[in-house]
């Protein structure tokens, strides 16, 4: 029993060791083989290959914040769709499938109205 218990830990330890060797080996091989040229462009902030503007700590435009808020609302509201999707089959088996389906469309419709509102107010246009 106890052997079994420690056996599980030994498996984990072996797993960790193999992982460490693999990663360490890869990094070591990289060090040994790759050419090194420090300085220059390597110190600037990474902006997906485009030349960066300003430092790493410069402030973002307030517009990003509005996008973030819109994303947050829709992202979080999506959690209600998953439980609904799991239960839909049950409701259709008791003959209420259509009602429950329509309810979800009403829910999504209200959310979409919010998005339409944001678009109409010009929040999503990029001047």
């Amino acid at each position: 029993m106890l052997n079994q218990y420690y056996g599980d830990y030994i498996t984990v330890a072996v797993f960790v060791a193999i992982g460490a060797i693999l990663v360490g080996g890869a990094v070591a091989a990289n060090r040994a083989i790759a050419p090194r040229a420090p300085g220059g462009f390597k110190d600037v902030a990474y902006e997906s290959g485009i030349e960066p503007i300003g430092g790493g700590w410069n402030q973002s435009h307030i517009r990003y914040y509005i996008f973030a808020l819109l994303f947050l609302i829709f992202d979080v509201e999506a959690v209600f769709i998953f439980p609904w999707a799991l239960q839909l089959e049950f409701f259709s088996s008791i003959g209420s499938g259509l009602t429950v389906l329509v309810e979800m469309f009403v829910f999504v419709g209200i959310l979409l109205l919010g998005l339409v509102y944001a678009i109409r107010k010009g929040v999503l246009t990029w001047e």
Binding site: I94, G95, T99, V100, I110, L113, V116, Y117, R120
Partner: protein, 505 residues
């Protein structure tokens, strides 16, 4: 097969539809007053099914014979209590909308969104009145508060309005977190969120310390919402800084939602813990009355004064409930009824007081008391209206406020032991203190001279905007009606509790 009682849900459905329509109209048209008209009509339409539901027994088309309609497995109940409170919330929203129409036109504000948020807040209040489980109650409570946070900061160009909004927001969210933590502990102990089941299951855990802790957290959280002392710090600041029509809504709608939450939870869900929340509410009620009234004495700004006044009124409302629960003596239905009666009357007179204050404030251009001197000399009608509402708040017969106080005293003294007598004495002393500062406003308006710098001709140049006039007129009628026919208010209170009684709760 799922079936829904659409008749019972109709008031909420109408208001929810109104919320969406106001948003759509705001998007498609530039004529923003259309949005206000739709909001007013929507609330008006929602009052109709409330009436048909109230008199369901005597109507042909209304088939249900049951006193209350239980929905969603008991999480949402439409009974007399819920209907009375829905009526109050709709009335308060209606008056706040009318007050806003005249106010928003006086300056450059975002209008469409304002009405959208206000109607959404009313919807939250209505859902609140029917909620009988914690999830729907918390969601409804936040539906009331969320829009109210934004409305409080509606004067974006005014630093004071922003400050009012932030203070309101932070206290509101802390209150939410406290309540939710208590609810989660309670759920852990009882395994249910529904009030009637908690009431049964909590009796077995009534001795567990964690249960006491959960109850205290829940009551503290609601204490913030009703702005009872010692959780009142945000109230005067927010009332002064927010746009006045929003303050009118906060003092009745947002505070009312807190009251409904506190009463419903304590009465329906936590009867096993009266020894915990009873003394707590007793102390909070006594403190609220005393601190609210004493600090109101030295206020010079009318909005702040009304803020402290509303803190004190919250104390008066909680007094009978706290007294009965703390003494553990018998039936909670009677103080419950007194509190609801008080709340209904408070809603009418406080909305009227704010409406009158807005009329005066717009003409004089200030809410400082010293600028209101000699009001009766150039605006007699408005000064009389001010007198009616402030004297009603002070509890002078034959205005509605006296009956509210009478019902409160009857219920506290009726307890028949020292918990009741002592808080009745505290309340009596406070009623006198309250009279002093309400009378101070009267003295300023009727006997002082018109101060330098107030141009009477300018102040009198505009007619009172029709919507504000209508709102104040409604409130005047209500104050006299409830005052002269006290049976009416008592019947409302009875109606709300009789049906609770038939539920066997």
């Amino acid at each position: 097969m799922l079936t829904l009682d659409y008749h019972a849900l109709l008031p909420e459905l109408i208001v929810a539809g109104t919320v969406l329509v106001t948003l759509v109209v705001d998007i498609v048209t530039r004529r923003k007053h259309l949005v206000a008209i739709i909001g007013v009509l929507g609330l008006f339409a929602a009052a109709v099914p409330i009436l048909t539901l109230s008199f369901c027994g005597s109507l042909d088309f209304c088939s249900s014979t049951e006193a209350s309609r239980v929905m969603f497995g008991g999480a949402y109940v439409i009974d007399g209590y819920a209907l009375v409170l829905k009526g109050v919330f709709i009335f308060a929203g209606f008056v706040a909308l009318l007050l806003s129409i005249g106010y928003l036109e006086s300056d450059r504000y975002y209008e469409g969104e304002y009405y959208f948020l206000l109607v959404a807040s009313v919807l939250g209040g209505m859902a609140m009145a029917s909620s009988r489980d914690f999830v729907s109650m918390i969601v409804a409570l936040e539906l009331v508060s969320g829009p109210a946070f934004m409305l409080a900061g509606w004067r974006k160009g005014d630093a004071r309005s922003n400050e009012a909004s932030l203070k309101f927001f932070i206290t509101g969210v802390i209150a939410l977190a406290l309540t939710l933590f208590g609810v989660s502990l309670l759920y852990g102990l009882t395994g249910t969120q529904q009030f009637d089941q908690i009431a049964v299951l909590s009796e077995t855990v009534a001795d567990v310390p964690l249960f006491t802790l959960a109850v205290i957290f829940i009551v503290l959280g609601f204490g913030f919402k009703v702005s009872a002392v010692p959780f009142h710090f945000w109230t005067p600041d927010t009332y002064q800084g927010a746009p006045p029509p929003v303050t009118a809504w906060l003092s009745v709608g947002s505070k009312g939602a807190g009251f409904v939450a506190l009463l419903t939870v304590c009465y329906l869900a936590l009867p096993a813990a009266t020894d915990v929340w009873g003394p707590l509410i007793w102390i909070v009620a006594a403190l609220s009355m005393t601190v609210g009234n004493v600090v109101a004495l030295k206020q010079t700004n009318v909005m702040r004064l009304l803020g402290y006044s509303s803190i004190a009124q919250a104390g008066f409302m909680l007094a009978p409930f706290g007294a009965v629960a703390a003494s553990g003596a018998g039936d909670l239905a009677r103080p419950f009824q007194a509190t609801i009666t008080y709340f209904v009357i408070y809603a009418v007179m406080n909305l009227g007081a704010f409406g009158t204050a807005i009329i005066i404030g717009q003409r004089v251009g200030s809410y400082e008391l010293e600028d209101w001197g000699g009001l009766s000399k150039y605006a007699t009608g408005v000064a009389l209206s001010l007198a009616v509402f402030f004297m009603s708040l002070a509890g002078v017969p034959p205005l509605a406020g006296w009956f509210a106080k009478f019902a409160m005293f009857r219920a506290t003294i009726g307890v028949g032991n020292w918990w009741g007598y002592s808080i009745a004495i505290v309340a009596a002393v406070n009623a006198v203190i309250a009279f002093v500062y309400y009378a101070k406003v009267m003295k300023s308006a009727f006997f002082d001279d018109v101060p330098e710098g107030i141009d009477v001709d300018v102040a009198m140049s505009d007619a009172i905007p029709a919507p504000i006039g209508l709102a104040v007129g409604l409130a005047v009628v209500g104050v006299f009606l409830f005052g002269v026919l006290p049976g009416l208010a008592a019947n409302v209170g009875n109606f709300s509790t009789d049906l609770l009684g038939t539920l066997g709760l």
